[in-house]
Symmetry: C2
Subunit: 328 residues, 2 copies
Amino acid sequence: MTDPIRVAIAGHGNLGRGVEAAILHNPDMRLVGIYTRRPAEQISPRRPDTPVFAIAELAGHADRIDVLILCGGSKEDLPQQGPEYAALFNTVDSFDTHARIPDYFAAVDAPARANRKTALISAGWDPGMFSINRALGEALLPDGETHTFWGDGLSQGHSDAVRRIPGVAGAVQYTRPVPAAMEQARSGSRRMLTTREKHQRECFVVLQEGADAEQVRDTIVRMPHYFADYDTTVNFISAEELARDHAAMVHGGFVIRSGNTTAGTAQTIEYSLKLESNPEFTASVLVAYARAAYRLHCMGQYGAKTVFDVPPGLLSPKSAEQLRAEQL
Amino acid sequence: MTDPIRVAIAGHGNLGRGVEAAILHNPDMRLVGIYTRRPAEQISPRRPDTPVFAIAELAGHADRIDVLILCGGSKEDLPQQGPEYAALFNTVDSFDTHARIPDYFAAVDAPARANRKTALISAGWDPGMFSINRALGEALLPDGETHTFWGDGLSQGHSDAVRRIPGVAGAVQYTRPVPAAMEQARSGSRRMLTTREKHQRECFVVLQEGADAEQVRDTIVRMPHYFADYDTTVNFISAEELARDHAAMVHGGFVIRSGNTTAGTAQTIEYSLKLESNPEFTASVLVAYARAAYRLHCMGQYGAKTVFDVPPGLLSPKSAEQLRAEQL
């Protein structure tokens, strides 16, 4: 029995709390600290014996931590924390601004290499599991098309946009795949579908007293970029219903690759996720990749890495022999 | 532009013909030879300029071939060919006798290591893509259950068993997942399902003249091991219908992992394949892994490998930079 992998968490929002929960399911890991910007006394760890530190203490704790899981956001936190901590720790993060991944990779790669650390970036489900399925789908069926669908899922950005409308007291917005578009993707039809053709939007809105429902509905469905080009449904509900039925951060989606191996012979690969908690699932992916990042580091593979660089077996607590015997 | 990877095929049955087709979709590869036990003049390559050799010539062609794809069967061919050719070539195969994989791995590993070759065994979809999804599902959701379903698929072994019954002139058998069992797996119910609860069997039978349909049906549905414990349907059709509607080697299946990240929070991962040609899809997987095996060899990673050892990015013809920019 080898020593458990010593894992620490930087940031204790929804994602950090999910990582805490995920580590409890992985007996080969030990949570050695939660590092936070908030006053330590405001943090209630899931296990009361988990130490809580100010994030400023991290730099002094390099010898206590095998892998640091960065649980901050992609907009404000990771562009600064990623490169900074990759110089000191093996790290894992869920950087998810797709267009900026090449720059972020380069910014993390240099300090990690210089300090012989392994930094696994952009793990989660998209980017992450969906990326693997997009790359594998294309590699296995080069003559084909890939369709990614998101949902049914709560979209934070669209929910916020609705909440800012005058007369709205509360709201959530769900993105849902259009069933007919999914059937088309599965059928092997090679027509490309736009994001707008593939998704519809459904809002659940609590009105302020005296607000005009039809005016609110109209403002939503005509909102440019967010709703105007989509098939959008608006439902009005009570504050009690909003709290009771729409608090969970559900999400998920589909990656469908359909292609031909010979003329007239269609093959379809489909990967899908149905998540009752988006942050808890992302956290579970981060924890499995923390194991892999630590193993890559032990093998001398330094620098920034992505899910494309990680052999699947390294994510499992099982040995290669065990995996071959039990799961191949 | 680097030189194309020089790929050769050992064995020219359904799988070997599928590999031929798959290589045509991969411009970074070149098919340098088909090696067969049959007289060369009986082979019609898809491209007339593809050289055909007697399999006995393989040993003398080691310097012409970067990767040899073994397209023989797991019962008779691979136990002998796998170790023999792994001493001379980088190899890829689809060895699929699950219970014997550890022994086969050891038998291939020793000669490959001794001769600094890379031998990727048991690639395909099960073992192969399904194995990856079983291992990842368990790693991402340790508190959960995995269910593998096969079908709708033509089963060669069960079709043969029906064909041996007196009075049967021709037959095919399809294995199909039981819809209610699939819904249960997706629902996150943690009850284990047996293979028998998960699958039903459907036979399409052509009777010999004068055969007693009810007696044939009875013999099928009571056949021990093959049918007796399953919900089995028998349909009688004409020889013309058999030839017209049941010639395709369709197959596929599902790997469903459902688990909890915290109490009461269910997460479901589902991977599925719908294949109009089982051998052509398996061949496509072999060809993508041929690329990966060659790259592993170039990186100095010798010995037997499985899909668990291969970073997903190595399967793609795209560079790591390109994958990060386009598919992450």
